[in-house]
């Protein structure tokens, strides 16, 4: 099932022309004088990925080779991601912003896509959230994947696994659909010392929690005035 889903994702990515969004630096004044809704995406389940294992048999081999670690990574708790949401809200409130907490977990598929080539425009139309919560802007923490990854060259691992997160954080003006802040929070944290220590993989566990902390710091660090 996992192999099938990975293949579908690879096919979809190669068929679509994905518009690359460049970083937009934070402008603190954007957070003030408007009602800002702060939301986080549905928390993904932690998983282990094998970039570079790009054939069906390669993925199957990588899965088999890393079965125990893969199972362990899937068991890692992702609920700490929600703390980032809480921290952002609390910081913005402390700094005097007019913040509305959006507790529902946002699923991008539920929002209409915007077909535009205009630079710095949101890919999704979040205006329904504007009406629902009475907000002018949306600060969205979008975590797409979390867990770990291990690079492969087809069948051969090219390094040790790492803790890995892929995501974006952005501020969208719901009237214009313009991004006012856009930051890629994708990052990896290498494992310190040994990594192959089943069944509890302390190296991977520590790297994973370090990753959560660094992600939180990266977002909070920019919002702090």
């Amino acid at each position: 099932m996992k192999i099938f889903l990975t293949l579908i994702a690879v096919m979809m990515l190669s068929s679509c022309g994905i518009r690359h969004q460049e970083t937009i630096k934070i402008n603190h004044s954007s957070f003030y004088g408007n009602k800002i809704g702060v939301a986080i995406s549905e928390t993904p389940q932690a998983d282990l990925y094998f970039p570079g294992a790009n054939c069906l048999l390669c993925i199957a081999t990588a899965e088999a080779m890393n079965g125990s670690l893969s199972k362990y990574v899937e068991s890692l708790d992702t609920s700490d991601l929600l703390n980032i949401h809480t921290k952002v809200i609390s910081l913005l409130k402390k700094q005097g912003a007019n913040v509305i907490t959006i507790n529902e977990k946002i699923k991008l598929d539920n929002f209409p896509e915007i077909d535009t080539e205009i630079k710095n425009k949101s890919h999704y139309d979040f205006s329904s959230l504007g009406q629902k919560y009475g907000i002018d802007k949306l600060l969205f923490i979008n975590i797409r994947t979390i867990g770990g990854d291990r690079n492969y060259a087809s069948y051969i691992p090219t390094g040790a696994p790492k803790a890995f997160i892929e995501g974006k954080v952005y501020l969208v003006d719901l009237k214009s659909n313009n991004y006012e802040w856009y930051k890629d929070i994708t990052r990896a944290v290498p494992i310190k010392g040994k990594w192959d220590e089943p069944p509890h993989y302390p190296g991977m566990t520590n790297a994973y929690y370090q990753l959560l902390e660094e992600t939180s710091d990266a977002i909070i660090g920019e919002i702090v005035r």
Partner: protein, 287 residues
């Protein structure tokens, strides 16, 4: 030095036969003041004069159960040996300080020269006291009565140039095949202390260095004994522990054993006991 260890072993073996033996107590307030407050409450710390050169320390947990006695016996073996080394350092330090004070009052105009001489004296004494180990290579290692003791201090200088972190990784293990791993443990202790001049650390701050090292050895021994006799209770749940080394934020999962305003003792996922500084001691005092 060998005679001291023999005396210490004799002393310990005599303790093994009589748990209630009393000892001639000497003034060890200097050491006690360096111990963590919770250690003071949990342990009886006594000392006997072995000869004019040194003192044997006896560290015993309060209200030790009979079941834990065997464990405690081995624990004290380490404690005695390591504490002896550390205590000897403190003794010399205090003597040197007194000498310096006296000289200082009568020879104020030669203060600089005297200080330099005093500090060299302290440094030499410090190295002498740890001669059983090899401090010059930053690795303290010894085989004592089939126990292998390794102390590996790392010196980390922080960015703010007013503070130094000294980290010691202390491993205690028994070479005996039958009892292998029975008492094998790695203890990681960290200390953040302000210093006046990093450049002159190894000369002018030898006293400070030695004091910090003594505190670290004591902390490790205390933790080792507590853990051996089961005094250390871990929290059930794993927590995320954050601390800094050289201004770098470290995040680790572990079970918290003890926590106060500036430090945490926890068991890491690799089953190491760690004492780490979580907050600057000075800011802790302010809060």
């Amino acid at each position: 030095m060998k005679a001291l260890y023999l005396l210490l072993l004799l002393f310990i073996s005599s303790c093994g036969n009589n748990a209630t033996q009393t000892f001639k107590t000497v003034d060890i307030s200097n050491i006690k003041s360096q111990l963590q407050p919770e250690v003071k409450d949990l342990f009886l710390i006594n000392a006997t004069d072995a000869d004019s050169q040194g003192v044997n320390l006896y560290i015993a947990p309060k209200n030790v159960s009979s079941e834990a006695y065997t464990m405690m016996y081995y624990g004290n073996l380490f404690a005695g040996i390591l504490a002896h080394a550390a205590f000897e350092g403190v003794r010399q330090e205090s003597r040197a300080s007194d000498e310096y004070k006296k000289s200082n009052s009568s020879l104020a105009k030669h203060r600089k020269d005297i200080k330099a001489i005093s500090n060299k004296f302290i440094l030499n004494k410090a190295l002498g006291n740890y001669s059983k180990f090899n401090l010059t290579t930053n690795k303290l290692e010894a085989d004592i009565d089939s126990w292998r003791i390794k102390i590996a201090p790392d010196f980390v200088i922080s960015n703010n140039k007013n503070e130094i972190s000294i980290i010691a990784r202390i491993s205690l293990s028994k070479n005996d095949k039958e009892q292998n791993n029975l008492h094998s443990k790695t203890i990681f202790v960290q200390s953040n202390q302000p210093i006046h001049s990093i450049d002159k650390l190894f000369i002018n701050n030898a006293l400070h260095l030695k004091k910090t090292l003594s505190v670290l050895v004591f902390s490790a021994v205390d933790l080792f004994i507590k853990d051996s006799i089961g005094v250390l209770a871990r929290e059930e749940k794993l927590k995320t522990i954050k601390y800094t080394i050289d201004s770098k934020k470290i995040v680790e999962r572990g079970k918290i054993i003890f926590k106060n305003c500036d430090s945490i003792i926890f068991e890491s996922l690799r089953k190491e006991i760690k004492l780490v500084v979580t907050k600057n001691i000075n800011s802790c005092e302010k809060s």
